[in-house]
């Protein structure tokens, strides 16, 4: 199917997902426990060739979005549309296998330490009918793209450093020629100098192959570098979404503003930090029916308690806050 450039390559429609936390487990059943809403009616469109950054703190549900996209877990409700066809657990294998790839935070635990680099990187090709020479060729090309050379082919993964392992994981993700790559905090455990190398590689290969990236991070500076569009999420809700140069330089939602002020930046000083802490943390109950940021918000109003703000459309972004209701 040919895609128009304006068509989203992947669309999430009203995805909800909840987990059960705590409770007693017995014979595979869970008794009691609290329902934790990880995602609540999240709708997202991802365009071909763009980088969408999901920015949020721990517990915001950003990893759950990644799991939904890659099919590691199934949503409770809502649909995922990939290239205009709905993905279900049955057709996912034929439609999206190898086309949606993921790179995890901890490369060491996503690679088999006893595999050689060649085995690791060629793993996604196990079903292809390529000859071994062709596979080697493909692996070499993938390694070259991440800045590693031939000499790595026969080395064991366990001998490599963290940055090198992450490159191997990236090479493995690109070898099946995917459409979408999901990066879940892929550079957060690396030292800054290594992180800079890896981020450069990611941008280079994206330009070369026109990959679509979903980049998950909690780091404001990394988001600023990588993003075309940014989506800020908090307790399973999208609070603000729009082009990165607008959203990150001039955030509108009180939470986005707080995130920006709290992010460490060289030569800046902490000022205007909201000392209001999430002492009393909501474990997102979908039935709450009010703004989840209410107890930390400076601009809270009566209205925020009466209903949950939907995403209001502003000029070229959407913000879920009643402050922007009629603008």
């Amino acid at each position: 199917m040919v895609l128009n450039t304006n068509d989203p390559i992947l669309r999430l429609n009203n995805i909800s997902k909840s987990y059960t936390g705590g409770g007693r487990r017995f014979l595979g059943f869970t008794q009691g426990g609290k329902k934790i809403v990880a995602l609540e009616k999240v709708s997202l469109e991802i365009m071909k060739g763009e980088t969408l950054v999901l920015l949020g703190e721990s517990g915001s549900g950003k990893t759950t979005v990644a799991k939904m996209i890659t099919g590691l877990e199934l949503p409770d409700s809502g649909e995922i549309i990939f290239k205009q066809s709905k993905l279900t657990s049955r057709n996912r294998n034929s439609l999206a296998r190898g086309k949606i790839q993921m790179v995890f935070q901890d490369a060491a635990s996503s690679l088999d330490p006893y595999y050689t680099v060649f085995q690791c990187v060629s793993e996604p090709l196990f079903k292809s009918k390529d000859t071994i020479e062709k596979k080697v060729d493909k692996v070499l090309r993938a390694l070259e793209n991440v800045g590693l050379d031939e000499s790595y082919l026969e080395r064991n993964v366990k001998e490599l450093s963290g940055g090198q392992k992450q490159r191997i994981a990236i090479a493995r993700a690109i070898i099946s020629d995917p459409d979408i790559i999901v990066f879940d905090e892929a550079t957060s455990s690396l030292d800054v100098s290594i992180q800079a190398q890896v981020l450069n590689i990611l941008v280079d290969i994206q330009e070369k192959y026109n990959f679509t990236y979903v980049f998950i991070t909690h780091d404001f500076n990394v988001a600023k570098f990588m993003a075309d569009r940014v989506c800020i999420i908090y307790y399973g809700r999208i609070l603000e979404i729009g082009p990165s140069e607008i959203v990150l330089s001039d955030p509108k939602h009180p939470y986005s503003i707080l995130l920006k002020n709290a992010s460490p930046m060289i030569g800046k000083e902490y000022e205007d930090i909201d000392v209001m802490s999430p002492d009393e943390v909501y474990v997102g109950d979908s039935k709450l029916g009010y703004c989840l940021f209410y107890n930390r918000c400076r601009n809270r109003m009566e209205k925020c308690l009466q209903s949950e703000p939907p995403l209001f459309k502003l000029k070229n972004r959407e913000v879920a806050c009643f402050l922007y209701e009629n603008k």
């Binding site: 030292d191 500076n221 600023k224 460490p264 800046k268 902490y270 930090i273």
Partner: protein, 332 residues
């Protein structure tokens, strides 16, 4: 200003070959916040442990040099002396507060114990009401709005940021001269991190403590500290005030670190990065940064450059003068 900490020629070696710290020299004065910045493997945590005398006492760990905290020679002190200086003299906050707090002891008991010990060492007699009052004041200082509720809780009922604030409250009660914080906010969210760091800075200035802040994040250090020490492969590469070091870094490594932090969008160009990577236990005769340095010369590997003073700062790079450390003083 009173000098709280003096580290002289500190060398730490693990096993046969791992040189964690080499000839580290610096001072820390009262009321000052000094940041130790370095990437993984630079020896920054070892420095924190050595200062608190928490290095393992076994055959594999060898150390030499002097650490002087408030007049006590830490590395040669007896257990008895160390017992008296820990807590009220040196207080260490680690990355994971869950590991520092006892899961079976309530927050109230943690803090009461801290206060009781500190008053005992100051030969002040306190009764339970006074302890409780002090504990509640300390909790209020670390921004808990409901101290009475928090007192009844146990560490597992609180979040990471809250527990880290409990640790800071404990430090307030023990009034140490020297506070060592080893990556205290690395595991926290940015908003919580901002909160804990602002608090830490306020407390240190109010209570007139000194803080040695160990971090991998130059941005965080630049927002909190008065002075910065940059470590690479166990050697101090640069010491200077934050403002000068950030705006005009002297050492190529410091420059590289600052440039590696993303600041602009990818549309403005690629990130500047430091080439290569730090290789653990790599044998280099001379400057350990030589393989990754952009402005390297042949003189760099004739010996380890010494820490030279230029423009009121100290830097270990031959660009600023060709001088070498005497080889016998650096641990192999």
């Amino acid at each position: 200003m009173e000098r709280i900490l003096r580290v002289e020629d500190l060398n730490v070696t693990y096993g046969e070959s791992t040189r964690a710290l080499r000839k580290v020299n610096f001072d820390l004065f009262q009321g000052e916040i000094v940041g130790i910045v370095g990437e993984s493997g630079s020896g920054k945590s070892t420095l924190g442990l050595a200062i608190a005398s928490l290095l393992a006492l076994n055959k594999k760990v060898k150390f030499s040099g002097k650490v002087n905290v408030n007049g006590v020679d830490i590395l040669n002190a007896s257990e008895e002396q160390l017992y008296r200086i820990r807590g009220t003299g040196i207080f260490v906050i680690f990355q994971d507060p869950f590991q520092s707090l006892d899961p079976l002891v309530s927050i109230e008991d943690h803090l009461s114990e801290a206060y009781a010990i500190s008053s005992d060492r100051n030969n002040v007699k306190v009764n339970p009401e006074q302890i409780r009052k002090a504990v509640i004041t300390a909790l209020k200082k670390v921004n808990f709005t409901n101290p009475e509720v928090i007192l009844k809780k146990y560490p597992h009922e609180l979040s990471g940021g809250q527990n880290q604030r409990i640790m800071i409250a404990m430090a307030i009660l023990e009034k140490p001269k020297l506070l060592v914080a080893d990556e205290p906010t690395t595991a926290l969210d940015v908003t919580t991190q901002a909160q804990v760091l602002t608090l830490l800075k306020k407390i240190v200035k109010e209570e007139d403590m000194s803080l040695l802040f160990i971090t991998h994040d130059l941005a965080v250090a630049s927002m909190l500290c008065d002075r910065i020490i940059v470590l690479y492969d166990g050697l101090i590469q640069e010491i200077g005030s934050v403002k000068e070091t950030i705006s005009d870094p002297l050492h190529p490594y410091t420059k590289g670190l600052i440039n590696s932090i993303p600041n602009e969008s990818k549309k403005e160009g690629r990130l500047k990065f430091i080439k290569g990577m730090y290789i653990h236990n790599e044998v280099i005769d001379g400057c350990p940064f030589y393989p990754r340095c952009d402005s390297r010369k042949d003189e760099c590997i004739k010996g380890i450059p010494s820490l030279i003073e230029t423009r009121g700062r100290k830097v270990r790079c031959i660009i600023y003068g060709v001088e070498y450390e005497r080889s016998d003083t650096t641990a192999k």
